[in-house]
């Protein structure tokens, strides 16, 4: 046994400092949940068909069990007795340049952390949880995919993930505010900025003010119709948290803290999240664990809020204003990983004449291929588009002309799929559909 130990020590010494850091991180995360998921895969290999990567490529290394295995084999090698004593028998792998390279390719390049495989796994292995843990190890080694890292850096350094300067943000919002005023023909209509003591602090995906502001106008119009007491912060408004994707818990915590501070600074009651799948998951579910305390305020998605407006008749919709057939794409992180499942259906059914479910749907839906930060990683773009074929086929089968989805990230991927697979559809946010169906009250004067 002593001899055994010497050999192990010698092997460990050949690890680089960074590799040691990564292994240390893995060890620090080994709670009951991680232990369970790292130890439970039985290599049955039945999960391939549940993953869009495998379905679209038939690459043997892309079945979810294999993705679990590459992480688990490193865990086995360094953190279990069996793996230390008889690595070959258990497929335990040395952590070296080759395994690191494989790890990067699989956990960044071949998994969108959509979680579909977990629901169908013979055992119940939480695959995305393991994949994210591996990404965290790569954060320690400073080996995060560059596009993903620079998006995280932009958010940390500039306050939003696209590096929009504050004055340009304000300028855009003022322009949209004037537009709204004209559209609804009411001088009092506006997009309130940095207003204190509001009921709702709304957030945005930076790609809205930067390139696609129509979704902001849509939501502003809905708030106007509902006479909501709301505001946008010009300092902290980013609903995304790419650190969730990169696996960087420190960064993720920092971004969450900023939102908390802004909530208390503006004395707002409810934090309302723009249509953003991972943003919902990160802020609603993961955030409190990063900052290690519950929020003193409520967090909901704007889709849930719109659902409330409809139920309580605060807004009136006329579905005949949306005549084209509409289908819905369920963003993984909001639906399977976030539990917002029925309300978007309720909202759409109230806003359009003809709604068609795509199959499968809800918690069983396929990822569009753009999740897990894939949109920010150009090096895997080809795979991303290829894996999106599953979604493209699903959409085509519905025969819908409009695909609605409450996630800007999905929208971007769907736009590319639309072109690549010639779907001939229009992609919209739920807010846009609702705004199109809004019936504004006749003004009394």
């Amino acid at each position: 046994m002593a001899g055994e130990k010497v050999i192990i020590m010698a092997k460990n010494n050949s690890l680089t400092e960074k590799q040691k850091k990564a292994l240390k991180l893995l060890k620090s995360r080994l709670n009951g949940r991680l232990l369970t998921h790292l130890n439970s895969c039985v290599h049955c290999g039945l999960c391939g068909e549940s993953c869009h990567y495998y379905l679209a490529t038939k690459n043997k290394n892309f079945i979810p069990g294999k993705k679990v295995d590459i992480v688990s084999s490193i865990y086995q090698r360094y953190h279990t007795l069996a793996g230390k004593v008889a690595p070959r028998l258990y497929g335990a792998k040395d952590f070296n340049d080759k395994t690191v390279e494989e790890l990067i390719d699989i956990v960044f390049g071949a998994c969108s952390m959509c979680g579909r495989c977990s629901v169908h796994c013979s055992i119940g292995v939480d695959v995305p949880y393991i994949v994210r843990t591996a990404r965290s190890m790569l954060v320690e080694m400073e080996l995060v995919s560059p596009g993903l890292q620079s998006t995280v850096d932009a958010a940390i350094n500039t306050g939003n993930n696209m590096g929009i300067p504050r004055d340009e943000f304000v300028d855009t919002l003022e322009w949209l505010s004037e537009d709204l005023e004209m559209e609804v023909e009411d001088e009092d209509a506006s997009i309130p900025l940095d207003k204190k003591g509001v009921d709702i602090l709304y957030t945005l995906n930076p790609r809205e003010p930067k390139f696609f502001p129509l979704s902001i106008s849509a939501i502003a119009k809905i708030y106007y119709a509902a006479k909501e007491n709301w505001t946008l912060s010009t300092n902290v408004y980013d609903v995304t948290n790419y650190a969730y994707f990169s696996g960087d818990d420190k960064g993720a915590k920092e971004l969450t803290e900023r939102l908390c501070d802004e909530m208390s600074k503006l004395e707002a009651k409810t934090l309302v999240l723009a249509e953003c799948g991972h943003g919902y998951r990160a802020i609603r579910w993961e955030g409190p664990n990063w900052i290690e305390r519950p929020y003193p305020f409520k967090v909901i998605s704007v889709v849930e809020l719109i659902g409330d407006y409809i139920r309580s008749c605060r807004i009136k919709l006329d579905p005949s204003l949306n005549k084209l057939p509409v289908t819905l794409h369920d963003p993984c992180n909001m639906v399977r990983g976030g539990g917002v499942i029925e309300v978007q259906r309720f909202v759409i059914k109230n806003a359009v004449e003809n709604f068609i479910e795509m199959m499968p749907n809800r918690a069983n839906n396929f990822c569009c291929g753009g999740g897990g930060g894939q949109l920010a990683m150009s090096e895997y773009a080809e795979r991303r588009i290829k894996s999106g074929k599953i979604k493209a086929d699903q959409i085509r089968k519905t025969g819908a002309k409009i695909v609605a989805t409450p996630c800007h990230n999905c929208i971007d991927q769907l736009m590319e799929l639309n072109k690549e697979y010639q779907l001939g559809v229009e992609i919209k946010t739920i807010g846009e559909l609702v705004a199109d169906a809004l019936v504004l009250e006749e003004k009394s004067n």
Partner: protein, 205 residues
């Protein structure tokens, strides 16, 4: 009690203790507090996780692979039965002939299921790519255990071999992939809690 009885008993105790160790390590501990306000009651989701979520209706790994899934189910039933029989064989309780023969036929069938899974693992390129020696060994060990149980019941000799294989099984169980005996339960539990808090499970429709 023969020396084989003692060895088997020791193997069993070691197995039990290490399984308990694994089990308690894998239950939520320390950092597992979830600070996010839950949306739903997790209890129902955990129940769902162990029941409906496992049914072939809900699970692709089952309904898209029905032959393998069915073989797997029978294989596991054979294992449970064989484990249960250890008690009887240990205390030398004999069965009426009809019962012994029924058990033998059943175990013969479940061992064939086990073997077919083994053959699939050895021939499918997808599975070969995923498997390590432990996967093959575990299957051989468990299938062997079922076969030897059947043989012992049939011929009523070779008790030593039966005891040795069973002891090896007990000792190996907590080390290799067979420890999914424990982790299966904690995985269902953790996944149930995860989806339960978020309101994704139980699936209502």
């Amino acid at each position: 009690m023969t020396i084989f009885h003692w060895i088997l008993l020791a193997g069993f105790v070691i197995c039990l203790l290490s399984c308990l160790y694994h089990f308690f390590m894998a239950l939520p501990a320390g950092k597992d507090i979830d600070y996010a306000t839950p949306d739903a009651k997790t209890r129902q989701a955990v129940v769902y996780s162990f029941t409906k979520a496992m049914s072939p209706k809900k699970k692709e790994t089952a309904f898209m692979h029905l032959p393998t899934y069915t073989a797997g189910i029978f294989y596991h039933l054979g294992t449970f039965l064989s484990l249960f029989l250890v008690i009887f064989i240990f205390f030398n309780v004999s069965f009426p002939t009809w019962l012994a023969y029924s058990i033998i036929v059943f175990l013969a069938f479940t061992s064939i299921c086990g073997l077919s899974i083994l053959i699939k693992r050895m021939t499918s390129s997808l599975l070969k790519n995923l498997s390590n020696p432990d996967d093959y060994f575990s299957n051989i060990l468990v299938t062997g255990f079922q076969i030897i149980t059947a043989i012992y019941l049939l011929l009523n000799t070779g008790l030593e071999y039966y005891f040795i294989i069973t002891t090896i099984l007990f000792l190996y169980l907590p080390i290799g992939k067979l420890r999914h005996t424990i982790y299966f339960f904690t995985a269902r539990l953790h996944l149930g809690i995860f989806y339960g808090r978020r309101g994704t499970w139980p699936v209502k429709k």
